[in-house]
Symmetry: C2
Protein backbone atom coordinates (compact mmCIF):
# COMPACT_ATOMS: atom_id res chain seq x y z
CA UNK A 1 0.00 0.00 0.00
CA UNK A 2 3.14 2.17 0.05
CA UNK A 3 2.18 3.51 -3.39
CA UNK A 4 -0.84 5.20 -1.80
CA UNK A 5 0.91 6.68 1.26
CA UNK A 6 1.73 10.01 -0.35
CA UNK A 7 -1.69 10.36 -1.96
CA UNK A 8 -3.57 9.50 1.24
CA UNK A 9 -1.50 12.12 3.10
CA UNK A 10 -2.62 14.72 0.58
CA UNK A 11 -6.24 13.63 1.03
CA UNK A 12 -5.92 13.87 4.83
CA UNK A 13 -4.76 17.48 4.44
CA UNK A 14 -7.75 18.19 2.18
CA UNK A 15 -10.25 16.54 4.55
CA UNK A 16 -11.34 19.78 6.21
CA UNK A 17 -13.67 22.52 4.90
CA UNK A 18 -11.60 25.36 6.43
CA UNK A 19 -8.44 24.08 4.77
CA UNK A 20 -10.25 23.83 1.42
CA UNK A 21 -11.45 27.42 1.88
CA UNK A 22 -7.89 28.55 2.70
CA UNK A 23 -6.60 26.95 -0.51
CA UNK A 24 -9.40 28.65 -2.48
CA UNK A 25 -8.43 32.01 -0.94
CA UNK A 26 -4.78 31.47 -1.91
CA UNK A 27 -5.71 31.06 -5.59
CA UNK A 28 -6.11 34.85 -5.67
CA UNK A 29 -2.62 35.50 -4.27
CA UNK A 30 -0.47 35.07 -1.18
CA UNK A 31 -1.78 36.09 2.23
CA UNK A 32 -0.65 36.43 5.85
CA UNK A 33 -2.09 34.33 8.67
CA UNK A 34 -4.11 37.37 9.88
CA UNK A 35 -5.55 37.90 6.41
CA UNK A 36 -6.46 34.23 6.17
CA UNK A 37 -8.12 34.16 9.59
CA UNK A 38 -10.38 37.17 8.93
CA UNK A 39 -13.05 35.83 6.53
CA UNK A 40 -13.20 32.42 8.21
CA UNK A 41 -14.17 33.61 11.67
CA UNK A 42 -11.54 31.28 13.11
CA UNK A 43 -8.94 32.09 15.79
CA UNK A 44 -5.33 32.76 14.76
CA UNK A 45 -4.00 29.62 16.53
CA UNK A 46 -6.67 27.52 14.76
CA UNK A 47 -5.66 28.94 11.37
CA UNK A 48 -1.98 28.40 12.20
CA UNK A 49 -2.73 24.75 12.91
CA UNK A 50 -4.50 24.35 9.57
CA UNK A 51 -1.59 26.06 7.79
CA UNK A 52 0.86 23.64 9.41
CA UNK A 53 -1.15 20.69 8.09
CA UNK A 54 -1.24 22.21 4.58
CA UNK A 55 2.49 23.03 4.72
CA UNK A 56 3.42 19.50 5.85
CA UNK A 57 1.43 18.12 2.90
CA UNK A 58 3.33 20.46 0.56
CA UNK A 59 0.13 22.25 -0.46
CA UNK A 60 1.34 25.67 0.69
CA UNK A 61 4.73 27.29 1.15
CA UNK A 62 5.52 30.10 3.59
CA UNK A 63 7.80 33.10 3.25
CA UNK A 64 10.89 33.48 5.41
CA UNK A 65 10.18 37.00 6.69
CA UNK A 66 9.97 36.80 10.50
CA UNK A 67 7.11 39.27 10.90
CA UNK A 68 5.01 38.64 7.85
CA UNK A 69 5.28 35.05 6.70
CA UNK A 70 3.01 35.09 3.65
CA UNK A 71 1.46 31.80 2.59
CA UNK A 72 1.22 30.83 -1.03
CA UNK A 73 -0.42 27.95 -2.79
CA UNK A 74 1.75 25.04 -3.94
CA UNK A 75 -0.46 22.95 -6.19
CA UNK A 76 2.15 20.27 -6.99
CA UNK A 77 0.51 17.51 -4.88
CA UNK A 78 -2.84 18.26 -6.55
CA UNK A 79 -1.34 17.16 -9.88
CA UNK A 80 -0.88 13.67 -8.38
CA UNK A 81 -4.52 13.72 -7.27
CA UNK A 82 -5.62 14.74 -10.77
CA UNK A 83 -3.52 11.96 -12.33
CA UNK A 84 -4.97 9.40 -9.89
CA UNK A 85 -8.56 10.49 -10.46
CA UNK A 86 -8.27 10.01 -14.23
CA UNK A 87 -8.34 6.23 -13.66
CA UNK A 88 -11.87 6.64 -12.29
CA UNK A 89 -13.29 8.96 -14.94
CA UNK A 90 -14.87 6.20 -17.03
CA UNK A 91 -16.67 4.92 -13.92
CA UNK A 92 -18.49 8.15 -13.10
CA UNK A 93 -19.16 8.76 -16.79
CA UNK A 94 -20.66 5.26 -17.01
CA UNK A 95 -22.84 5.82 -13.96
CA UNK A 96 -24.14 9.16 -15.29
CA UNK A 97 -24.86 7.48 -18.63
CA UNK A 98 -26.83 4.79 -16.78
CA UNK A 99 -28.76 7.45 -14.85
CA UNK A 100 -29.50 9.26 -18.13
CA UNK A 101 -30.77 6.06 -19.73
CA UNK A 102 -32.90 5.33 -16.66
CA UNK A 103 -34.48 8.82 -16.67
CA UNK A 104 -35.17 8.63 -20.42
CA UNK A 105 -36.82 5.24 -19.94
CA UNK A 106 -38.85 6.64 -17.04
CA UNK A 107 -40.02 9.61 -19.12
CA UNK A 108 -41.05 7.36 -22.03
CA UNK A 109 -42.98 5.14 -19.63
CA UNK A 110 -44.70 8.14 -18.05
CA UNK A 111 -45.65 9.56 -21.44
CA UNK A 112 -47.18 6.23 -22.45
CA UNK A 113 -48.97 5.97 -19.14
CA UNK A 114 -50.31 9.54 -19.52
CA UNK A 115 -51.57 8.77 -23.04
CA UNK A 116 -53.36 5.66 -21.76
CA UNK A 117 -54.96 7.66 -18.98
CA UNK A 118 -56.21 10.33 -21.37
CA UNK A 119 -57.72 7.63 -23.60
CA UNK A 120 -59.81 6.26 -20.68
Amino acid sequence: MVEYDHLSNTFAALADPTRLAILARLTSGEASVTELAKPFNVSLPAVSKHLKVLERAGLIARGREAQWRPCRLDAGPLKDVADWIEHYRRFWEDSFDRLDAYLTALKTKEKRHGRKRRKK
Copy 2:
Protein backbone atom coordinates in the same frame (compact mmCIF):
# COMPACT_ATOMS: atom_id res chain seq x y z
CA MET B 1 -17.59 26.72 4.57
CA VAL B 2 -20.74 24.64 4.00
CA GLU B 3 -19.85 24.48 0.30
CA TYR B 4 -16.80 22.36 1.20
CA ASP B 5 -18.49 19.99 3.66
CA HIS B 6 -19.37 17.34 1.10
CA LEU B 7 -15.97 17.55 -0.62
CA SER B 8 -14.02 17.34 2.65
CA ASN B 9 -16.06 14.25 3.61
CA THR B 10 -15.00 12.60 0.36
CA PHE B 11 -11.36 13.51 1.07
CA ALA B 12 -11.61 12.05 4.59
CA ALA B 13 -12.79 8.75 3.10
CA LEU B 14 -9.85 8.82 0.67
CA ALA B 15 -7.30 9.62 3.39
CA ASP B 16 -6.18 6.04 3.91
CA PRO B 17 -3.88 3.87 1.74
CA THR B 18 -5.93 0.68 2.33
CA ARG B 19 -9.13 2.40 1.23
CA LEU B 20 -7.39 3.72 -1.90
CA ALA B 21 -6.17 0.18 -2.65
CA ILE B 22 -9.73 -1.17 -2.14
CA LEU B 23 -11.10 1.37 -4.65
CA ALA B 24 -8.34 0.40 -7.12
CA ARG B 25 -9.27 -3.29 -6.72
CA LEU B 26 -12.97 -2.48 -7.37
CA THR B 27 -12.12 -0.91 -10.74
CA SER B 28 -11.73 -4.47 -12.04
CA GLY B 29 -15.20 -5.53 -10.84
CA GLU B 30 -17.27 -6.11 -7.73
CA ALA B 31 -15.88 -8.18 -4.86
CA SER B 32 -16.92 -9.65 -1.51
CA VAL B 33 -15.42 -8.57 1.81
CA THR B 34 -13.38 -11.82 1.94
CA GLU B 35 -12.03 -11.22 -1.56
CA LEU B 36 -11.12 -7.65 -0.63
CA ALA B 37 -9.39 -8.68 2.60
CA LYS B 38 -7.14 -11.31 0.96
CA PRO B 39 -4.53 -9.25 -0.97
CA PHE B 40 -4.33 -6.56 1.71
CA ASN B 41 -3.28 -8.80 4.60
CA VAL B 42 -5.86 -7.06 6.77
CA SER B 43 -8.40 -8.70 9.11
CA LEU B 44 -12.04 -9.02 7.99
CA PRO B 45 -13.30 -6.59 10.69
CA ALA B 46 -10.69 -4.03 9.64
CA VAL B 47 -11.77 -4.31 5.99
CA SER B 48 -15.44 -4.07 7.03
CA LYS B 49 -14.66 -0.84 8.85
CA HIS B 50 -12.95 0.61 5.77
CA LEU B 51 -15.91 -0.44 3.61
CA LYS B 52 -18.32 1.32 5.97
CA VAL B 53 -16.33 4.55 5.61
CA LEU B 54 -16.33 4.23 1.81
CA GLU B 55 -20.05 3.39 1.77
CA ARG B 56 -20.95 6.37 3.97
CA ALA B 57 -19.02 8.63 1.57
CA GLY B 58 -20.98 7.15 -1.35
CA LEU B 59 -17.80 5.79 -2.95
CA ILE B 60 -19.00 2.18 -2.92
CA ALA B 61 -22.39 0.48 -2.92
CA ARG B 62 -23.13 -2.96 -1.49
CA GLY B 63 -25.45 -5.70 -2.71
CA ARG B 64 -28.49 -6.76 -0.68
CA GLU B 65 -27.74 -10.51 -0.61
CA ALA B 66 -27.44 -11.53 3.05
CA GLN B 67 -24.57 -13.99 2.58
CA TRP B 68 -22.56 -12.41 -0.17
CA ARG B 69 -22.84 -8.65 -0.14
CA PRO B 70 -20.65 -7.69 -3.08
CA CYS B 71 -19.12 -4.24 -3.08
CA ARG B 72 -18.95 -2.16 -6.21
CA LEU B 73 -17.34 1.13 -6.99
CA ASP B 74 -19.53 4.24 -7.11
CA ALA B 75 -17.34 6.95 -8.62
CA GLY B 76 -19.95 9.74 -8.46
CA PRO B 77 -18.26 11.69 -5.62
CA LEU B 78 -14.96 11.53 -7.52
CA LYS B 79 -16.51 13.61 -10.29
CA ASP B 80 -16.92 16.44 -7.74
CA VAL B 81 -13.26 16.06 -6.79
CA ALA B 82 -12.25 16.21 -10.46
CA ASP B 83 -14.37 19.34 -11.00
CA TRP B 84 -12.87 20.98 -7.90
CA ILE B 85 -9.29 20.15 -8.87
CA GLU B 86 -9.66 21.80 -12.28
CA HIS B 87 -9.57 25.21 -10.54
CA TYR B 88 -6.01 24.40 -9.45
CA ARG B 89 -4.65 23.05 -12.74
CA ARG B 90 -3.13 26.36 -13.86
CA PHE B 91 -1.24 26.57 -10.55
CA TRP B 92 0.58 23.28 -10.85
CA GLU B 93 1.16 23.88 -14.56
CA ASP B 94 2.65 27.28 -13.69
CA SER B 95 4.91 25.79 -11.05
CA PHE B 96 6.16 23.07 -13.41
CA ASP B 97 6.79 25.74 -16.05
CA ARG B 98 8.81 27.71 -13.48
CA LEU B 99 10.80 24.58 -12.57
CA ASP B 100 11.43 23.95 -16.27
CA ALA B 101 12.67 27.50 -16.77
CA TYR B 102 14.89 27.20 -13.70
CA LEU B 103 16.45 23.92 -14.90
CA THR B 104 17.03 25.32 -18.39
CA ALA B 105 18.71 28.39 -16.87
CA LEU B 106 20.82 26.13 -14.66
CA LYS B 107 21.94 24.02 -17.62
CA THR B 108 22.88 27.10 -19.67
CA LYS B 109 24.86 28.43 -16.72
CA GLU B 110 26.65 25.09 -16.25
CA LYS B 111 27.51 24.89 -19.95
CA ARG B 112 28.99 28.39 -19.86
CA HIS B 113 30.87 27.56 -16.71
CA GLY B 114 32.19 24.34 -18.29
CA ARG B 115 33.36 26.24 -21.39
CA LYS B 116 35.19 28.80 -19.23
CA ARG B 117 36.91 26.02 -17.33
CA ARG B 118 38.06 24.33 -20.52
CA LYS B 119 39.46 27.65 -21.77
CA LYS B 120 41.66 28.03 -18.69
